[in-house]
């Protein structure tokens, strides 16, 4: 908690930079609100006393002051709130959010997007920018409200010191309100899971996509029933919590009101004995009746400020984490202009944090410059991990990656990326104009239509481009009313994006074709094989093709078979078939149905 004031202060400075005039006006409204309540009480008491005493002009001034004070009281808060919102919006969305997103983007590794403990924080930060600035202003509002409460009680104290005793009675509701609120928050958390379920089931019952299966299975009414049950579970529990909280509050305010009644009787007695005036009674009443509102606002604002902890902690964590990532021993060497030797993996080992098994385990192999290497293996064999290490997203736990003899860890990561092209299995389906969906592969060339067209051609996506109604400018994706592409078309777009790099040293196809059937995948690979061999010449580029299908990579110069993180076999197709090992067996399974003789099919399951 100790770091919070520093953070709030920083966010305020940002706020005043964002829109100084509005911020000053918002602040002024808050300061004004400090005095409007006492002013109404004083003006009222003044008017009543002067009227009773027959002082015409004094009484009229008091009456006018009362009207003014009431009007200010009714206006200032609303206007201040509206102005504050604009300041919070602008500061949060235009200044803080880009800063947060920039920090997240700027971290070279991927741990913060993959490890669940980090990811929880990062996904909280998704909407945090606005919330953080709002929390800073909430903190200010809490202070203002506390001050208002204090001023009001002090004013009552001027009538008679006994009235300051109301402070004690006001503390009761303050404390009870907090308790009641805690019950609500606890219940809300406890029922959040059922609430999510309720939403999920409603979504299933009303969306078209799952509608087919649900109708055939006759599951619709079952889902509707489950949704209604989950809804009831959530809201029954929350209603009970509301009752508890209401009981706390009713009790608390009864105590306060009785205390207030006693104090008021005292004030009246004093007026009776001519130690006070009728105006004092009016003052005491008009001011004391605002105490409830002030207490409730103070509690609400403080609770909101306290809740901001769920945003502040991840934010402070991100700043620390990003600073550490920047300060880490990153390499500074530039990537070579061309590969002469190739990339060597030396005893490469990696284990994901929090898992009990090496995802890659002592892999040693040399990928010669200009070669096409295929990595095959079943799910979980370490293929994707290998790609991520080559990308520098993770640092190996053991062993090294040598790029023409230089440790990858010693290279400047961004420079290395600029010499890489990758099409991942989970490639992006960017809801943007086709030009950008492709051009993002080399953001510097986004304005170069010729370059983009060349990449489209290289990826064999010209037919797709020809079919787009507005050519390169066609917006893609249904999200924003663009043209929806088929899976195969999205994938061609991803491949075109990967073709934007002018002279990559490493070109990786990490199963971007996994959702295609095997023959189509093979067709894509064939195209890249040819292209790779054409392109390899000048830069000595290495092409790495990853697949879980053993039959589609037969033409590669080098095939690496991974199994459980270890390199099980390596060689070209003929060598591996001749070796009669794992590759040979699985290749046989994949192709067995295509025997040209039409005899009975061979046994289904290959011997392991």
């Amino acid at each position: 908690m100790r770091r919070y004031p520093g953070l709030w202060w920083r966010l305020f400075r940002l706020s005043f930079r964002a829109r100084p005039g509005v911020a000053v006006a918002a602040l002024t409204c808050r300061l004004l609100s400090l005095v409007t309540v006492p002013a109404t009480g004083l003006a009222l008491s003044w008017a009543v006393n002067a009227s009773g005493a027959g002082l015409r002009s004094t009484a009229l001034v008091g009456a006018a002051a009362a009207a003014l004070a009431y009007t200010l009281n009714a206006t200032v808060e609303g206007v201040g709130h509206g102005l504050g919102l604009v300041v919070v919006d602008r500061t949060g969305l235009l200044l803080l959010e880009p800063e947060i997103l920039g920090e997240i983007c700027g971290i070279d590794g991927l741990d913060h997007l993959e490890r669940s403990d980090y990811l929880d924080r990062v996904s909280t930060l998704d909407r945090a920018a606005w919330g953080l600035v709002a929390a800073a202003w909430n903190a200010l509002d809490s202070l203002v409200n506390l001050a208002r409460l204090g001023i009001v009680l002090a004013l009552l104290g001027t009538v008679t010191p006994y009235l300051t005793l109301l402070l004690v009675f006001a503390a009761v509701p303050l404390w009870f309100d907090v308790r009641g609120r805690r019950v609500l928050t606890r219940t809300e958390l406890a029922t959040a899971e059922d609430d999510r379920l309720q939403r999920h089931l409603f979504d299933l019952a009303t969306r078209a996509a799952p509608g087919g299966e649900i109708r055939v299975a006759g599951a619709a009414s079952d889902l509707v029933r489950r949704q209604a049950r989950a809804w009831r579970n959530v809201h029954d529990a929350r209603f009970r919590a509301q009752l508890v909280s209401a009981a706390w509050r009713a009790g608390a305010w009864t105590v306060f009101t009785l205390g207030f009644a006693g104090a008021l009787a005292l004030v009246i007695l004093r007026a009776d004995r001519a130690q006070g005036t009728v105006g004092d009674v009016v003052l005491a009443v008009s001011v004391a009746t605002t105490v409830r509102g002030l207490v409730q606002q103070t509690v609400a604002k403080s609770a909101q400020t306290a809740e901001s902890g769920v945003l502040v902690e991840p934010y402070l964590w991100l700043r620390r984490y990003a600073a550490e990532a920047r300060g880490g021993e990153a390499g500074h060497r530039a990537a070579p202009r061309r590969l002469t030797d190739g990339i060597s993996l030396v005893d490469l080992t990696y284990r994901y944090p929090g898992t009990g098994r090496n995802a890659l385990d002592g892999v040693t192999v040399h990928l010669p410059a200009g070669s096409v290497t295929a990595v095959v293996g079943e799910y979980g064999s370490g293929k994707t991990t290998l790609v991520k290490l080559l990308c520098g997203f993770h640092r190996p736990d053991g062993g090294r990656i040598l790029v023409d003899g230089v440790d990858l860890a010693g290279l400047d990561t961004r420079g290395w990326w600029r010499r890489m092209a990758v099409a991942f299995q989970d490639f992006g389906r960017y809801q943007a104009p086709f030009r950008e969906a492709v051009g993002l592969g080399e953001p510097g060339d986004l304005a170069d239509d010729d370059r983009i067209r060349a990449a489209v051609r290289a990826a064999g996506a010209d037919d797709l481009l020809d079919r787009l109604p507005q050519g390169l400018s066609t917006p893609l994706g249904r999200d924003f009313g663009g043209v929806e592409l088929s899976e195969g078309q999205w994938q061609k777009t991803a491949l075109a994006r990967a073709c934007m790099r002018r002279s990559p040293l490493l070109f990786v196809l990490d199963e971007p074709t996994a959702s295609l059937d095997a023959p189509s995948e093979r067709a894509v690979f064939d195209r890249y094989l040819r292209r790779a061999r054409d392109a390899a010449g000048d830069a000595g580029a290495i092409t790495l093709i990853v697949s879980h299908r053993f039959a589609t990579v037969a033409d590669a110069d080098l095939i690496l078979v991974l199994d459980g993180g270890r390199l099980a076999e390596a060689g070209n197709h003929d060598e591996l078939i001749a070796a009669g090992g794992r590759y040979a067996a699985l290749h046989a399974v994949s192709t067995r149905g295509y025997a040209t003789t039409s005899g009975p099919p061979p046994p289904a399951t290959p011997a392991r």
């Binding site: 209603f239 079943e378 999200d479």
Partner: protein
């Protein structure tokens, strides 16, 4: 309309709510009177508490009543809101889920209607029916509060009522208009807001995060976020600032009349025409008129709720014609035998696309056979299965089961015989057991059939790894839940369909059921399908002709109709399109082949 929406709230809670609001509305006027009375009594009394004590008690009573009613209203509001919304959502869910075909749900206009009618606010500008119904009670209470405060003013002079009420109403109208204006500007920016969110997610998602790093478009994506934010919020900020200025200006509508009224009563007191108590009562009641008519937030709630309810009403109209077509054919005894399904000259095109997918299709699906559907992408294979499932109706021709038109069989009865694995199968965030038994929800869950289906779908090893076995929810978002991989989910979907078969479905349709499976699982699955129990028809769609070749019959779709049909050997002998496709695929699996045709 909104008051009628209160009905699901229940008689007792709604009555209490109305009483609470009504009582609360009378309090400002009540306390103004009590206060005036108290002041007069205090001035009269000299040392005799008996004179002012009743007045004090009355005043304290109003204050206490205010606190207690306020505390009680909170849970009441919550309960009524939750009940109204729960009933509304259940109605909408049942309405949409009850539409027998999905064609109508796919229309973008209908999707928008469903989105709006769901009453699930995505931002502060959207409201629920419950919000609106409760707010409507609040609005009525406001008028009551204003009227009772005005009644107190009449005690001094009748003309105070128009003097204060007219400007108070005008000010309310201005602020109400301003609020709704801000809401409109907000709603208008929703598209840009979604765009900002989209690029934000792109930066934050691990998958696009990889591309963003290697390609280096992080700064570009952040710039996209900023552009969208500016586009959305620019008008919002401008309007909000304008509204604050108009709010400050409309304060004059309060200041001037209030000053006149206060001055008038003050002069009367000074002149001795009126007691001080009346002055205090007028001060408080005059303020009370403005306080009662002050907040305009309820306008937002009622307007928002009316939008949601209107959407639900429209949805009912749209879905009404497709609901309820009675089955007219008599129930024919089945004896567990699958029906003969015939497509007769069937034509179909997806609504709104203008493209014909099926055109004059004639096809028999024979009882108990294993039929493979093959063809290029877009040949209409998946569409055929959707027509078979009755999700769409043919635009021409008809589909019959044992000679009876599907429309006369009645969709629920027809679907009872089907089990389908769709390409985009459903991932229920429910326990594994429910994920399987929801394959056939019309019968009570059958653990024996479930276990058998799981074993056949290769689900056993997945199940063995689940912390809680069958009871494990398949979503990490639920306590004790886990997320499954694509391949594991596919096995769940298979088990779900096989469960339906074991509990009575007679036609099993598999649309690319192995896209996420590895070679070994795929091979095992097809062996099992061939050894399936007698009396089940299997319709299989696959790109892998090596798998398909072992089917009883292969049907090649092309140009929206059946181009070739027969056993693998027959089709190879025919040397037509199938034979060519098969050779092409076989070729691809040999190294060093020339790149000829794209499949």
């Amino acid at each position: 309309m909104l008051l009628r929406a209160l009905r699901p709230g229940g008689t007792v809670p709604v009555t209490l709510l109305c009483l609470g609001y009504g009582g609360f509305a009378l309090l400002p006027a009540g306390s103004a009177v009590a206060m005036g009375l108290l002041v007069d009594r205090v001035r009269q009394a000299s040392g005799a508490p008996a004179v002012w004590l009743p007045a004090l008690a009355l005043f304290v009573g109003t204050v206490l009543a205010g606190h207690l009613i306020d505390a009680a209203l909170e849970p009441l509001r919550y309960l009524v809101r939750a009940r109204v919304n729960g009933s509304h959502r259940a109605t909408v869910a049942a309405l949409v889920a009850g539409a027998p075909t999905v064609a109508v749900l796919e229309r973008p206009a209908v999707q928008d209607l469903i989105r709006t009618a769901s009453g699930d606010p995505q931002s502060w500008t959207e409201q629920t029916p419950g919000d609106g119904a409760v707010a409507q009670v609040g609005v009525l209470a406001r008028w009551l509060a204003a009227a009772s405060a005005a009644a107190v003013l009449v005690v001094f002079a009748w003309w105070l009522v128009p003097l204060l009420a007219v400007p108070a109403l005008a000010s309310r109208a201005i602020r109400r208009r301003d609020l709704l204006r801000v809401v409109r500007v907000w709603a208008h920016g929703a598209g840009d807001g979604r765009r900002a969110d989209y690029w934000k997610r792109t930066v934050l998602s691990p998958s696009t995060g990889k591309e963003q790093r290697v390609y280096g478009f992080g700064d570009w994506a952040v710039a996209q976020v900023l552009t969208a934010v500016r586009a959305m919020y620019g008008p919002i900020w401008a309007t909000t600032l304008r509204v604050q200025r108009s709010g400050a200006a409309s304060a004059l509508l309060m200041l001037l009349p209030l000053t006149v009224a206060y001055a008038a009563v003050t002069v009367a007191v000074v002149d001795g025409r009126t007691p001080v108590g009346v002055q205090v009562a007028v001060f408080l009641a005059g303020l009370g008129v403005y306080v009662a008519l002050g907040p305009t937030w309820d306008a937002l709630e009622t307007e928002g709720a009316l939008r949601v309810m209107a959407a639900a009403e429209q949805l009912r109209d749209v879905l009404a014609p497709v609901h309820r077509r009675p089955a007219t054919a008599p129930v024919a005894p089945r004896n567990g035998r699958p029906p003969l399904v015939t497509f007769e000259d069937v034509g179909f095109g997806y609504p709104g696309t203008g493209r014909t997918v099926l055109d004059g299709l004639d096809l028999h699906i024979r009882p108990g056979e294993m039929l493979a559907l093959v063809g290029l992408n877009g040949a209409g294979k998946s569409t055929l299965t959707k027509l078979l499932a009755g999700l769409y109706e043919p635009t021409a021709g008809r589909i019959r089961a044992d000679g009876v038109d599907l429309r006369d069989v009645g969709l629920p009865r027809w679907r009872d015989q089907l089990a389908v694995v769709f390409q985009d199968f459903v991932r229920y965030e429910l326990p594994m057991a429910d994920n399987v038994t929801l394959g056939r929800a019309s019968v009570p869950p059958d653990p024996v059939a479930r276990d058998r289906a799981a074993a056949e779908a290769g689900l056993a090893e997945v199940l063995a790894r689940l912390p809680d076995g069958w009871a494990t929810p398949l979503s990490r978002g639920r306590s004790g839940g886990v997320d499954l991989s694509g391949g594991q989910w596919q096995k769940v979907a298979l088990a779900r369909a096989l469960y339906a078969v074991h509990t009575g479905a007679r036609i099993l349709v598999l649309d690319e059921p192995t896209a996420h499976l590895d070679v070994r699982s795929e091979a095992e699955l097809f062996d099992r399908l061939r050894d399936r129990p007698a009396g089940v028809t299997v319709v299989l769609i696959s790109h892998r002709l090596a798998t398909v070749r072992r089917s009883d019959r292969i049907v090649l779709l092309d140009g929206g109709r059946v181009a070739e049909s027969g056993h693998h050997d027959d089709l190879i002998r025919l040397d037509g399109r199938y034979a060519r496709m098969f050779r092409t695929q076989a070729e691809r699996f040999r190294p060093g082949h020339p790149d000829r045709v794209d499949v």
